[in-house]
Symmetry: D2
Subunit: 262 residues, 4 copies
Amino acid sequence: MRDVEVGSGKTVIVAGPCAVESEEQILATAHAVREAGGHMLRGGAFKPRSSPYTFRGLEERGLELLARAREETGLPIVTEVMSVKDVELVAQYADILQIGARNAQNFFLLEEVGRADKPVLLKRGMASEVEDWLLAAEYIIAAGNRRVILCERGIRTFETATRNTMDLGAVALVKQLSHLPVFTDPSHGTGKWYLVEPLAMASLAAGADGLLIEVHPSPEHALSDGAQSLTFDSFQQLVHRVRAIARAVDRPLAEPVARTGV
Amino acid sequence: MRDVEVGSGKTVIVAGPCAVESEEQILATAHAVREAGGHMLRGGAFKPRSSPYTFRGLEERGLELLARAREETGLPIVTEVMSVKDVELVAQYADILQIGARNAQNFFLLEEVGRADKPVLLKRGMASEVEDWLLAAEYIIAAGNRRVILCERGIRTFETATRNTMDLGAVALVKQLSHLPVFTDPSHGTGKWYLVEPLAMASLAAGADGLLIEVHPSPEHALSDGAQSLTFDSFQQLVHRVRAIARAVDRPLAEPVARTGV
Amino acid sequence: MRDVEVGSGKTVIVAGPCAVESEEQILATAHAVREAGGHMLRGGAFKPRSSPYTFRGLEERGLELLARAREETGLPIVTEVMSVKDVELVAQYADILQIGARNAQNFFLLEEVGRADKPVLLKRGMASEVEDWLLAAEYIIAAGNRRVILCERGIRTFETATRNTMDLGAVALVKQLSHLPVFTDPSHGTGKWYLVEPLAMASLAAGADGLLIEVHPSPEHALSDGAQSLTFDSFQQLVHRVRAIARAVDRPLAEPVARTGV
Amino acid sequence: MRDVEVGSGKTVIVAGPCAVESEEQILATAHAVREAGGHMLRGGAFKPRSSPYTFRGLEERGLELLARAREETGLPIVTEVMSVKDVELVAQYADILQIGARNAQNFFLLEEVGRADKPVLLKRGMASEVEDWLLAAEYIIAAGNRRVILCERGIRTFETATRNTMDLGAVALVKQLSHLPVFTDPSHGTGKWYLVEPLAMASLAAGADGLLIEVHPSPEHALSDGAQSLTFDSFQQLVHRVRAIARAVDRPLAEPVARTGV
């Protein structure tokens, strides 16, 4: 997509806020991501959460703001689609369609994105075995879309000191079992901003092809996932430290996006 | 619904095959369920499974066969709806809409059945904490449908000797936290037909208001879940043994369905 | 042992405090257990817990108090042994040697109690698969002691609404795989006193041969496990309700212990 | 100990077979470990496993062979002690006393090694939360021994594609919570030899101070854990690749052990 290649031996960093909250927030973040060396912008427009009584996202307005941020920065956009009926709409804006962990076995949705003309980033379900995860990808591929990126985001275990348990053994295993690129999401994987950097580094060392990182201009004011979001400064440091690991494993960071790439 | 009351102090048994496979199969099962003392008929018409390459169910034809079985036996029908776009269709046939474990946090689907005019049986997700499960119910209720039945079907743990781990502590806890009726599904909860009866009994002793039991005319030929399906004979024995527990806990089995109840 | 038979088709209730705290506490509890219809007295003399800085038990003084309680009430004693070097000492006082969950794969300790002349109640480890648990029993049996009682006390899963997750599917399975009697411990299994009764009932319905129940004269002042301990009154009610289930499954409560049985 | 410093900003590699099987096996392995750049030799002398009917280790003879290997190579020895009564014996031979996962909450054993005059490598239990693990270390420290190395070896989760689930989030977290050095054991953590290298690399990137690696002259003939053991060649390659990560995170491999260091 655009000028970022995934799974081609270069490491790709996708960063941005959990949810698109405002024009100011998403534009500031997009610029910061780009300047720090990030390759794509993430941000949720549809964000219903565990409780029906919390912030649900800006929906189509959020998609428009993401497109605006792309225009300004050249960063391709990764955003989640949560419902069969929204696939067409989201695909008009997104460069990569994200399937979230809670929809990891929503087979109708998997088939619908399998018919879309955009790559799909497929998160592992929080109770998905490696086999379930690969079969979920198979749903998308069997429907005709071979551009699938797998994304480990932590599984649910007895350990509560971290929000989830990142399963980097599964990342290394899937790199052996499948030709698909594998990303990780250490923000959801740990739930704590100060663990994101070491787990991002560990992910690359385990073989991951890319990273999803939550970044927010002001994490303490984020409408969701503030505790796991990096500030612009700590994101910049993360890119710096991740770069060293990426080199050590011969999968250097991808080239910066040309602003005119759009 | 029809003449079966749920959560009214009587124990309700819902039984039938995992998937509707043929007219002969579903009619034979419906009659056997009714004769043994079951109160409702379950059966899946939409059955995509972990792999895209397995049997997927008869879809609308399956719903028609369920309706046919209801006509013959008077048994209300519980069947799963897996997609927002199918809610209206399924609601035309079903007496209770089932939400499966893999859609336990498919928030758009929860809201859609929340707008339907049928009760909803909401399975717990295999990685749902009790709080997630109650909040999922809240999505349905917040959309306007207060007729929600919770259903524990086993969670995913390290133990593989059973297919899932039935969490009867959660059943007892939810009976204290919520006014909603709670069923259990010992067929999925154990994955082994010879454990269904003891776990059905244990469920009622823990406080469950009803049971979902997989029954098949010939489990060894079932297209799905054969290992956990009861024969007609073992279902009959289960009802007999469950009746004793239901009495011991002062929640006797509900009255048999009148054939003319439809 | 004495006049209580285990695994003979009668249901056995073992009750008492988590830890022996004082003469007054253990004697009062023993009398209450006996009057309510309990068959054996439990109580820990060696109680090191997760932190080295908490109450550790009265050690040999605790064993003496248990023996005193047995003299007064006729109740046989179940108490934990935690170290190879203490097996001989504990066996002088106890009627049943308990192996705790944290020692479920302490193979040297298993072998040592395998050489003792007392029955062993073997708790399942919090991460033990059914196979691990049965093999742990095999360590005891291979060392020469065939009188082993298995005890399910909850496993560790992602669910934190209860202290552990009681795995009654494993109880039903082990009843099929093994000739050994199986008890459950719904106090540790749930961690909440108000869930002990329903899970005790469910345990018997699932096939358990006996129960371990924590009872304390004043749970809010207990030095350990107060939140999961029953008062004397709620224990009395539990015995009453459990009796109904025991009858329904044709494993009635064992006869009360004769005071002169000692 | 000897001339290897742990937790001093250099990365330490401990390698060797699961169990000492013969003089030939342990000497050959020790030389291979030393030549490849490993810093210490591991090997089990006491090896009772889940079943009482499998190989149990050479016991004191195994300790003698380890000492012999140390004489020849200068590599300090890490070996497990499983019982209070063996602490004195094992401490005569070992440079570091290992506490295995199954004894992670064997409080009497923790206290006994707390009184020994050797550093302790404390494995995390397969169901230990981070807090349990740190409190287990506290048992050793409270008894007087401050030289504790923590070791993450994988926890038990629903995922069975790997033997355990390596929890590198916990490694990063413990590095923040505690001053103690943290090692990982990717051999037990994954159970598959071809995942050991990527997880070893990931461990260092996450912040680990050292590694435990299973190496065997002929893994397919190993008496235990063959599937997760590296050959000498693949161990050599692992050291090479790990070295690059160690440099990238500014914790280069420790100096090779001087043969005369003993």
